[in-house]
C-alpha cells in the first residue's frame, strides 16, 4: 500500500494506531462487491424449494406453530417466489450461500474495525483532537497549480458516520439474507449493496471535495442500480432513471460550488478550505452563492424541495435498499455535507436561512402528504423526506450537532420502520402467493389486525413509531427536541436572526420555521399512528383464505429488528440535554463533535453558546411532548380502522384527501412544466431539427454526399485518355505559374 503521510500526519496522535488501516474500510465492502459481482456472473440458478417457508419452517421462528403446519400443507406445486414484488418462480442462485456469507461478513469486519478506530480515537483524546487524521495515497489530478490527492481523512464527524453506516449496514445486510433469499439475482443484490457501502464510506472519509464527490456519485449509481433492481418491470426501471436524473440537477449545483471554491481559494482540501475561507467576506455574495449551490446538491441527494420527487418513487427497490440507502445513509449525505462545510455555511447567514426554510417547508409538506398515503412504504418515504427536513433545519440554523444527532437517531428508527414494513410485506406476500391472489401486498387497506400474527415486528415498530413521534425517552424525542430548541434559541440571538432573508427579518424566519417544525411534529405523530393502526390493529382485511398463511419472519430478519429497536429506544443517550441530566452524562455528542463544528456553531451564535433558562427549556420540551401525545391521541380517536375496506373495494377519494393522496399533483406539475417541454424541445427541435436535420442530414450526410460528388467529378475527369491528362497537366502548369505571381 502506497502511503504518503503528511509531515503532520506522522505526528498526529492517531499515527501508529489502528486508524492507520483507514484505507481498509472502503476496501472491505469493495472486496465484497468484487466477489459477489463475480458470483452473480455465474448464471447458475437452481430450482429452489417449492415454498420459501420450507427454509424457515425448521428455524422455529413462527409466531404460532399452527401456521407452520398450515403452511406446509401448501408446499406442493407452488413454484412462485414469495417476497418482493412479483411472482418470480423460486429459482435460487447456486452460490447464494456464499454471497450470504461474504456480503454481511465484509460489513461486519468493517464495523469491527470502525469500533476499534473509535476506541483508538477516544484513547487519543477524542473530543480534544482538533486536526483530522489525513492519509494521502497518490497524486490524483496534478494539473498546473492544481494539486489534488486521493486522500482519506478521519475526524470525529467521519467516525460517527462510519459507525452508523457500517453498523446499520451490517444489520440490513443480515436482514437481506432472509428477505432476498428466493431472488435469482441474490449475489447481484449483495454486490450492489456492498458497492454502495464502499462508496458511502468514500463519501464520508474523503479528505477533499472531489473525493467526496466520487463517493457522492458512486452512491447515486448504486441507488440507481438498486431502485431498478427488478428492472424487468418498466415502472422500477423508470423510478431508477428518475432518481438518477433528478440527482444530476443537484450534482450540477455541487460541481459549481466546487468550481467556485477552487477559483477563489485555490484548493479543495477540507482542511485548507476551512483555513482559507475566512479570507472571503462574511455574508458576502460569493460565499452565499457557493453555499447555495452546494445546498442545491443537497436537495437532490437528500430529497428536499424542489428535488424530493425521486425518493417516494425510489421505493420501487427492494425494502432493505429503502432502509439502507433511502432512509438511513445515502439520503443523509446532504446533511453530512453541510456539517462538513459548516465553516462555509456559518459565514453565509442568508444561505443558512435558506437551508432552514427549505428544511421546514419540506418537513411540513411531506408530512401532510404522508397523512393520506395507503402504500406502507410510501408513508415511510414521505416520513423520511419530512425527517430530512428536520435535519436541514438543524444544520441550516447552525445547530450542526443537533442535525447530525437527528441523522444518527433517524438512521436507527427509520431503518427499523422500513425493515419492519419489509417484514410485514414479506408476510403479506407469502400469504397472497399461497392462494395465488394478486392483491397489493403493500397497501394498508389490505392489512389490518396483523399484530397477533407477527408479535415481534408489531412491538418493535411501535417502539420506532414512538421514537419518531417524539415521545419522551425514545431516541427521536431527544434529537427532534434539540433541533426545535436550537431554532427557538437562535431566533433570539444569532447572526441568522440579524440577517434578512428576502426582506424578512431572520428572527421572524426562524420563529416561523420553529412553528412549522412543531406543526410537522404533530402531523408526524398522526400519520405514524395511523400507519400502525391501519397495519396492525382493527379487523384483518387480508382475506379469508390468506389469513391462515400470515406469520412472523424468520429470526435472520427479526434479529436485526431487535437490535435496531434497542438503538431506537436508547439512541437519545448519545446527546442528553441538560434538563435530563438525571439520566446520564449530558451532551456527549456535543463534546465529541466540538472540534469539527464547534467553531462554526459559535460563529453563528455570535461567539456565545446559547443557554436557555431552565423554565424556557422546560416549556419547550413540555410543548413538544404535548404535541406528540396530542397527535397520537388524535389519530387513535379519530381513525376508524373498522370502516376500512380492502383496496379493491375502496371508493374514490374526494376534495383535500384526493389532493393529498395524489401528493399535491407535484409530479404532474413537474411533468407539465419541466419534463414535457424538455422532452418536446429535445424531440422536436434538438433531435428532429438539429440532430437529424442539420447535423445528420446536412453536416454528416451532406458532407459525405458533397465529398462523393466531388469524388465522382474527379473520377469523371480520370477518363483514361492520355490527352485529357496532358491538358490537365498544362492547366496545372499555368496555375503554378499564376501562383508565383501572387505574393
Amino acid at each position: 500500500m502506497l502511503l504518503q503521510h503528511e509531515v503532520s500526519a506522522a505526528a498526529h496522535p492517531l499515527a501508529g494506531t489502528v486508524v492507520e488501516w483507514l484505507w481498509l474500510l472502503p476496501l472491505l465492502p469493495l472486496l465484497g462487491f468484487v466477489i459477489n459481482g463475480l458470483l452473480s456472473l455465474v448464471p447458475a440458478t437452481v430450482l429452489g424449494p417449492g415454498d420459501p417457508d420450507m427454509a424457515h419452517g425448521a428455524d422455529g421462528a413462527h409466531g404460532e406453530a399452527g401456521h407452520g403446519v398450515a403452511v406446509h400443507a401448501h408446499e406442493t406445486a407452488d413454484e412462485h417466489g414469495a417476497h418482493g414484488d412479483d411472482h418470480h418462480p423460486v429459482v435460487r442462485h447456486r452460490f447464494a450461500w456464499l454471497a450470504s456469507i461474504v456480503g454481511p461478513a465484509v460489513l461486519a469486519i468493517a464495523f469491527g474495525l470502525a469500533v476499534a478506530m473509535f476506541f483508538a480515537m477516544r484513547g487519543a483524546g477524542g473530543g480534544e483532537m482538533h486536526a483530522p487524521f489525513v492519509q494521502r495515497y497518490f497524486s490524483w489530478m496534478p494539473a498546473g497549480t492544481f494539486h489534488l490527492d486521493a486522500a482519506f481523512q478521519l475526524d470525529q464527524l467521519s467516525m460517527l458516520m462510519v459507525l452508523v453506516i457500517t453498523g446499520v449496514g451490517t444489520l440490513i445486510h443480515l436482514f437481506s439474507i432472509g428477505y432476498m433469499q428466493d431472488d435469482p439475482g441474490y449475489p447481484r443484490f449483495f454486490a450492489y449493496l456492498n458497492l454502495f457501502v464502499a462508496f458511502m464510506l468514500v463519501l464520508v472519509l474523503g479528505a477533499n471535495y472531489p473525493v467526496l464527490f466520487v463517493g457522492w456519485e458512486g452512491v447515486g449509481l448504486c441507488s440507481y442500480l438498486l431502485i431498478g433492481f427488478w428492472f424487468s418491470e418498466k415502472a422500477n426501471a423508470d423510478a431508477g432513471k428518475k432518481a438518477f436524473i433528478v440527482n444530476r440537477i443537484g450534482d450540477f449545483g455541487l460541481l459549481i460550488a466546487m468550481f467556485l471554491l477552487f477559483a477563489n481559494l485555490g484548493t479543495l482540501d477540507f482542511v485548507a478550505v476551512n483555513e482559507n475561507v475566512t479570507r472571503l467576506a462574511f455574508g458576502g455574495p460569493l460565499i452565499t452563492t457557493i453555499c447555495l449551490f452546494m445546498f442545491l446538491g443537497c436537495t437532490g441527494k437528500s430529497a428536499q424541495i424542489p428535488l424530493y420527487i425521486w425518493l417516494p418513487d425510489a421505493m420501487a427497490g427492494p425494502t432493505p435498499v429503502s432502509a439502507l440507502i433511502h432512509a438511513a445513509t445515502m439520503v443523509t449525505a446532504g446533511v453530512y455535507l453541510i456539517a462538513r462545510s459548516s465553516v462555509l455555511f456559518s459565514m453565509a447567514p442568508v444561505a443558512g436561512l435558506t437551508v432552514t426554510v427549505i428544511g421546514a417547508l419540506t418537513a411540513i409538506f411531506a408530512a401532510t402528504i404522508g397523512l393520506k398515503q395507503w402504500d406502507i412504504k410510501k408513508v415511510l418515504a414521505y416520513s423520511t423526506v419530512s425527517q430530512l427536513g428536520y435535519m436541514f433545519m438543524g444544520v441550516g440554523s447552525g445547530a450542526y450537532v443537533a442535525g447530525v444527532f437527528h441523522l444518527a437517531t433517524h438512521a436507527f428508527f427509520k431503518a427499523l420502520l422500513f425493515l419492519g414494513s419489509g417484514s410485514v410485506i414479506f408476510a403479506m406476500h407469502a400469504a397472497y402467493h399461497h392462494t395465488g391472489s394478486h392483491e397489493d401486498a403493500q397497501d394498508m387497506r389490505n392489512m389490518g389486525g396483523l399484530a397477533p400474527y407477527m408479535r415481534v415486528t408489531w412491538i418493535l415498530m411501535w417502539i420506532a413509531t414512538l421514537a419518531i413521534a417524539g415521545v419522551p425517552f425514545f431516541a427521536g424525542f431527544f434529537s427532534k427536541d434539540e433541533i426545535l430548541g436550537s431554532l427557538f434559541l437562535r431566533a433570539h440571538d444569532s447572526t441568522l436572526a440579524d440577517a434578512r432573508w428576502l426582506g424578512i427579518p431572520g428572527s421572524a424566519v426562524l420563529y416561523g420555521a420553529y412553528a412549522l417544525g412543531l406543526a410537522a411534529a404533530l402531523l408526524t405523530a398522526i400519520y405514524m399512528t395511523r400507519m400502525m393502526i391501519y397495519t396492525f390493529h382493527g379487523p384483518n382485511r387480508t382475506g379469508e383464505k390468506e389469513r391462515d398463511h400470515l406469520h412472523e419472519a424468520p429470526w435472520i430478519m427479526t434479529g436485526p429488528l431487535v437490535v435496531l429497536g434497542i438503538l431506537s429506544a436508547v439512541g437519545g443517550w448519545l446527546n442528553l440535554p441538560a434538563i435530563t441530566s438525571f439520566l446520564g452524562p449530558v451532551g456527549a455528542l456535543d463534546r465529541w463533535l466540538e472540534p469539527v463544528v464547534g467553531e462554526s456553531a459559535l460563529r453563528v451564535t455570535n461567539g456565545v453558546a446559547p443557554e436557555a433558562t431552565h423554565s424556557t427549556e422546560l416549556a419547550l420540551v413540555g410543548g413538544a411532548v404535548a404535541i406528540a401525545l396530542l397527535g397520537i391521541i388524535i389519530a387513535a380517536v379519530r381513525l376508524k380502522p373498522a370502516r376500512l375496506v380492502p383496496k379493491a373495494q375502496s371508493p374514490e377519494e374526494h376534495g383535500i384527501e384526493r389532493v393529498l393522496a395524489n401528493k399535491y399533483y407535484v409530479d404532474e406539475a413537474y411533468d407539465r412544466v419541466v419534463v414535457e417541454p424538455t422532452v418536446g424541445l429535445s424531440r422536436g427541435v434538438l433531435w428532429k431539427g438539429i440532430d437529424q436535420g442539420i447535423i445528420d442530414n446536412v453536416l454528416v450526410n451532406g458532407s459525405a454526399r458533397l465529398a462523393r460528388g466531388f469524388s465522382s467529378l474527379g473520377s469523371w475527369v480520370q477518363s483514361g485518355q492520355i490527352g485529357t491528362y496532358a491538358w490537365v497537366l498544362v492547366i496545372g502548369v499555368l496555375a503554378v505559374l499564376g501562383a508565383f505571381t501572387i505574393r
Binding site: 459525405a704 469524388s711 491528362y725 505559374l737 501562383a739
Partner: protein, 517 residues
C-alpha cells in the same frame, strides 16, 4: 583532419568514396544483370537472382551503416554526405527489399519469368539513391532519369497483360512530358544564377538579389511542376491511378513508396538548400499544391472500390501531407518528412503485400468487396491489413507509428517560424475524410459476412508473409517507441535549411556583375 571521416570532394578519389554505397549498388546490379541474362530463364534462376539482389541490398545497407556509424562528413560539393541522405537511403532500401521479396513470389505465381526485373529494381534504386545524395541539379536529373527509365520498364513487366503495357505507355508519355518541364526549369534556374550546385544557387540568389528575378521564379515554377508529377501531387497526379492499377502489384507498391520518397528527398533538398531565400515567392504555390493534393487524393479515394486504385489515391493524399512538411521549410519539417517517409513506406509496402497475398493469379480479387469477412478465413492477414490501414489513417496505438508521423508533420507546421495552422487544419480535416475509405476496408474485412461462393484465399507465400508480418510488427513497435526513430532523424536537415553557406570553394564563382542594388 582524418581522411576517413572528413572527405574533400574536390578529389575524385574521395568523391568516389562518398558515392561508395551508390557505386556498390550500381556495380553489383550490372554484374547481376549479366548473370541474370547468362542462364536460361527458369523459376529457380529467377529466385536465385532475387536472393542475390536482396544480398546486394544488405551489403549496401552495411556500407551506409558504416558511414552513419563513423559520422563521415564532407566539404560542400555535388554530393551530400549527411544524415538526411543516409536515412533517405535506408527508407529507399527498405522499400526496395520489400518490393523484391514480393516480386519473387508474385512473378512465380503470375508465371512471369524475368530475372532481370529484380535487377531493374536495383538500378532504379541506385538512381533514387543518387537523388537522395544530389546537391547539384545535373546529378538530380541524372538520378531522376535513371530511376524513371527503369520504372517505366518495370511498369510494363508483365508483357502478356494489356493493362500492364498500357500503364507503362502512359507513364512513359506523361513522364517524358513532365521531364521536359523539369529540365526546362533547371535550365532557367541556371540561366538566372549561373550555377547548378544547390548551395551556390542559394548563395547567389541572396548575394545578387535575385529573389524577384522572373527567370529564376519561372524556373522554380517549372521545376515544381516536374517534381509535382514525380511525387503525384494534384493536379499532376492523373497518371498515378491508371499506372498503379495496371502495373504488377509489387511494382505499384514500389512506385507508391520508394519512387515517391526518392523524388521527395530531392525535391525537399533542392527547395531547402537552393530556394530558401525565395521562400516568399514559392510558398504560395507549394501551399496550394499541398492543400489541393490532400483534398483531391482523399476525396476521390472515397469512390474507389478497386484496392490498387484506392491505394493510388491514398498515395496521392500522402504526397499532400509530405508537401506540408516541405512548405514548412524548417529543420523540424525535414525531420518530420523523414519520419513520415519511413512510416509511410512501411505501411504502403505492407498493404501492397496484402494485396499481393490476396490477389489470385491474373490479378483478380482486387475489389474491396472481395475482402468481405477476411477476418473469418485469414484472421492474421485481416489484422495486419487493419494495422496498415490505420497507420495510413494516422490512428493512435492500433495504427502504430502512423499517428506519430502525422503528429510530427502537424507539429512542424504549427511550430514553424510562421505557423501554418490553416494547412494543419486542412491536414486534419482531410485525414478525417480519409477515414471514410481506410475504415471502410477495415469494416468490410471484420464486419461483412464472407460471400458464400468466395474461395478461401490461399496461404501467403513465405516472403510475402514475412513482408506483411515484419511491416505490421515494425509499425506497432515504432508506435510504442517512436523516440528511437525520432532521435535518428533529429538534426538531419539538409545543409542549407538553416543557413546558406557564405562561400563555396568547390565551384568557382563566375564573374557576374555586382548586385544591381
Amino acid at each position: 583532419m582524418n581522411f576517413m571521416t572528413h572527405l574533400d570532394l574536390s578529389f575524385p578519389a574521395q568523391l568516389s568514396l562518398a558515392l561508395l554505397p551508390d557505386l556498390l549498388l550500381m556495380g553489383g546490379a550490372m554484374i547481376l544483370l549479366l548473370w541474370a541474362a547468362w542462364r536460361p530463364e527458369s523459376a529457380r534462376h529467377q529466385r536465385s537472382v532475387g536472393a542475390a539482389c536482396l544480398g546486394l541490398i544488405v551489403l549496401t545497407t552495411i556500407a551506409i551503416g558504416w558511414f552513419m556509424y563513423r559520422h563521415v562528413t564532407a566539404t560542400p560539393g555535388p554530393i551530400a554526405v549527411d544524415r538526411f541522405r543516409w536515412i533517405a537511403d535506408l527508407v529507399l532500401l527498405l522499400g526496395t527489399a520489400g518490393t523484391i521479396a514480393l516480386s519473387m513470389d508474385y512473378n512465380e505465381r503470375e508465371g512471369i519469368f524475368a530475372p532481370e526485373s529484380h535487377v531493374l529494381i536495383l538500378l532504379a534504386t541506385s538512381g533514387m539513391m543518387l537523388l537522395a545524395a544530389a546537391r547539384d541539379l545535373m546529378i538530380v536529373f541524372l538520378g531522376i532519369e535513371t530511376m524513371s527509365v527503369a520504372t517505366y520498364v518495370l511498369a510494363g513487366m508483365n508483357r502478356r497483360s494489356p493493362r500492364s503495357a498500357e500503364a507503362a505507355m502512359k507513364y512513359f508519355l506523361l513522364g517524358a512530358f513532365s521531364t521536359a518541364f523539369l529540365l526546362y526549369g533547371m535550365a532557367l534556374v541556371y540561366g538566372a544564377t549561373g550555377a547548378t550546385n544547390l548551395s551556390v544557387i542559394g548563395d547567389r540568389v541572396m548575394r545578387f538579389g535575385l529573389t524577384t528575378s522572373p527567370l529564376l521564379l519561372t524556373g522554380i515554377a517549372l521545376m515544381l511542376v516536374g517534381f509535382g508529377f514525380k511525387v503525384a501531387a494534384a493536379p499532376f497526379h492523373m497518371w498515378a491511378p491508371d499506372v498503379y492499377e495496371g502495373a504488377p502489384t509489387p511494382i505499384t507498391g514500389y512506385m507508391a513508396a520508394a519512387v515517391k520518397a526518392a523524388a521527395f528527398a530531392a525535391f525537399l533538398r533542392i527547395w531547402y538548400e537552393a530556394f530558401t531565400p525565395v521562400y516568399a515567392s514559392w510558398h504560395n504555390a507549394v501551399w496550394w499544391l499541398a492543400a489541393v493534393t490532400m483534398a483531391v487524393g482523399n476525396i476521390i479515394a472515397l469512390r474507389q472500390r478497386d484496392l490498387k486504385r484506392l491505394l493510388a489515391y491514398s498515395s496521392i493524399a500522402h504526397a499532400g501531407y509530405l508537401l506540408v512538411a516541405l512548405t514548412v521549410n524548417s529543420p523540424a519539417g525535414s525531420e518530420a518528412f523523414l519520419f513520415y517517409a519511413f512510416v509511410y513506406t512501411i505501411a504502403t509496402m505492407g498493404s501492397f503485400a496484402v494485396v499481393v497475398a490476396l490477389g489470385d493469379p491474373g490479378e483478380r480479387s482486387l475489389n474491396v468487396d472481395d475482402y468481405a469477412g477476411l477476418w473469418t478465413v485469414r484472421p492474421w492477414l485481416a489484422v495486419a491489413m487493419a494495422v496498415f490501414m490505420l497507420a495510413l489513417l494516422g490512428f493512435p496505438v492500433f495504427g502504430g507509428a502512423g499517428f506519430f508521423a502525422k503528429w510530427y508533420v502537424i507539429r512542424a507546421a504549427l511550430q514553424a517560424p510562421s505557423p501554418h495552422w490553416k494547412l494543419a487544419v486542412i491536414l486534419v480535416l482531410t485525414s478525417v475524410i480519409s477515414a471514410g475509405y481506410y475504415l471502410y476496408v477495415v469494416m468490410v474485412m471484420f464486419m461483412r459476412p464472407r460471400v458464400a461462393s468466395a474461395a478461401i484465399p490461399a496461404r501467403s507465400r513465405g516472403l510475402t508473409g514475412f513482408v506483411i508480418a515484419a511491416s505490421a510488427v515494425l509499425l506497432i513497435v515504432l508506435g510504442f517507441f517512436p523516440e528511437r526513430l525520432v532521435r535518428l532523424t533529429e538534426g538531419s536537415a539538409p545543409y542549407g535549411a538553416l543557413t546558406v553557406p557564405a562561400t563555396s570553394s568547390a565551384v568557382p564563382l563566375p564573374s557576374l556583375p555586382p548586385a544591381r542594388r
